[in-house]
């Protein structure tokens, strides 16, 4: 992709970090980053306060769409060769686990998914999350708890 001009806060490295955490594959994460940056150029919110939450939402939804779009019969991408790290079956197991978690995340409501990932991936406080999403702090906590309980059920079902 040739050079682009981006608004502030649209940090490609941060977007890449979110994408890689879900996809665990360098090329897929770069593709996802490019896709998100195109969306930034098209329709990022003008308000800087909302832009961060919007970016996280778009990135995570984009990655989950990619994961949902992967054919079930296609072998999952293995970035870590067995000779350099854990044994192959451990790597495959962790890849399977990652896909299971990603699919479960995809089943949450958007509010639940945003609050949960902001807390776990970015370590934001409930107050910060509430402010960025334009909701009350107790509401953010409710979303968080419901997301965890729903995720727990989904992970059991997907075993």
């Amino acid at each position: 992709m040739s050079a682009m001009n981006l608004p502030e806060q649209a940090d490609p490295a941060r977007i890449y970090g979110w994408a890689y955490r879900l996809l665990r594959h360098h090329d897929d994460a770069l593709d996802a980053t490019q896709g998100v940056l195109l969306k930034v150029l098209e329709r990022a919110p003008s308000s800087p306060e909302r832009r961060q939450a919007w970016l996280r939402r778009v990135t995570i939804n984009h990655c989950l769409d990619l994961i949902r779009g992967r054919r079930p019969t296609a072998p999952p991408p293995l970035e870590e060769p067995a000779s350099r790290g854990p044994r192959a079956e451990e790597v495959a197991g962790s890849t399977e686990q990652r896909e299971r978690v990603a699919r479960a995340l995809a089943e949450l409501s958007e509010s639940q998914r945003l609050v949960l990932t902001a807390k776990v991936f970015d370590g934001e406080t409930f107050e910060e999350i509430a402010q960025s999403l334009g909701i009350a702090t107790p509401t953010a906590k409710t979303h968080y708890l419901r997301a965890l309980r729903r995720l727990r059920t989904l992970l059991e079902e997907l075993r």
Partner: protein, 175 residues
């Protein structure tokens, strides 16, 4: 602390935002209440599963994302002019190509001045035997060239529209 109070504080506890005296009392209840303890441990396990998606090192993320050749846009009018320059250049090149491209001239056919729009358009259209509809091939070529320029101009026009929208958002965001 009772079980209802535990439920009210469970999000804070799991989210690492319960501290001090409240955390002590919370954990004292978990020590004596099996139901609450199992719930907290179970949800804690779910959190750990999420945390098992480890983050990428920030320096590594910067290195990987650097291939995308991003630069920050300059602000204000200078930014608008800077962004418009490549598209303006395309328009100029397209117009020059249309003006300077050679036009065959045939006695009785449209003059090159007429076809470039510089001079008056000659209304007479000499026909050529065997041509569909009796249209002179010179007119057909001119129409194709005009269509080609239109095809080039359409994406440029939409790019200008996109630029205008981005600039409008910037101005709106600075209010």
């Amino acid at each position: 602390m009772n079980c209802n109070e535990i439920e009210e504080r469970l999000a804070d506890y799991l989210g690492g935002e319960l501290g001090g005296e409240e955390r002590v009392r919370f954990e004292e209840h978990l020590a004596v209440c099996l139901t609450c303890r199992r719930e907290a441990e179970s949800l804690g396990g779910t959190l750990e599963t999420l945390r098992d998606l480890p983050p990428v090192d920030p320096a590594e993320a910067n290195r990987r994302a650097s291939v995308l050749e991003i630069r920050r846009r300059p602000a204000g009018l200078r930014g608008i002019v800077w962004r418009a320059l490549p598209y303006a250049a395309c328009v100029v090149v397209g117009v020059c190509a249309g003006v300077l491209s050679p036009r065959p001239t045939v006695a009785g056919g449209p003059t090159s001045a007429a076809m470039t729009g510089i001079g008056p358009v000659v209304p007479s259209v000499p026909t050529v035997e065997g041509t569909a509809g009796g249209i002179h091939p010179m007119w057909v070529a001119a129409a194709r060239e005009s269509q080609a320029l239109q095809d080039t101009a359409a994406p440029i026009a939409s790019s200008f529209a996109l630029l205008a929208e981005i600039s409008s958002r910037e101005r709106g965001g600075k209010k």
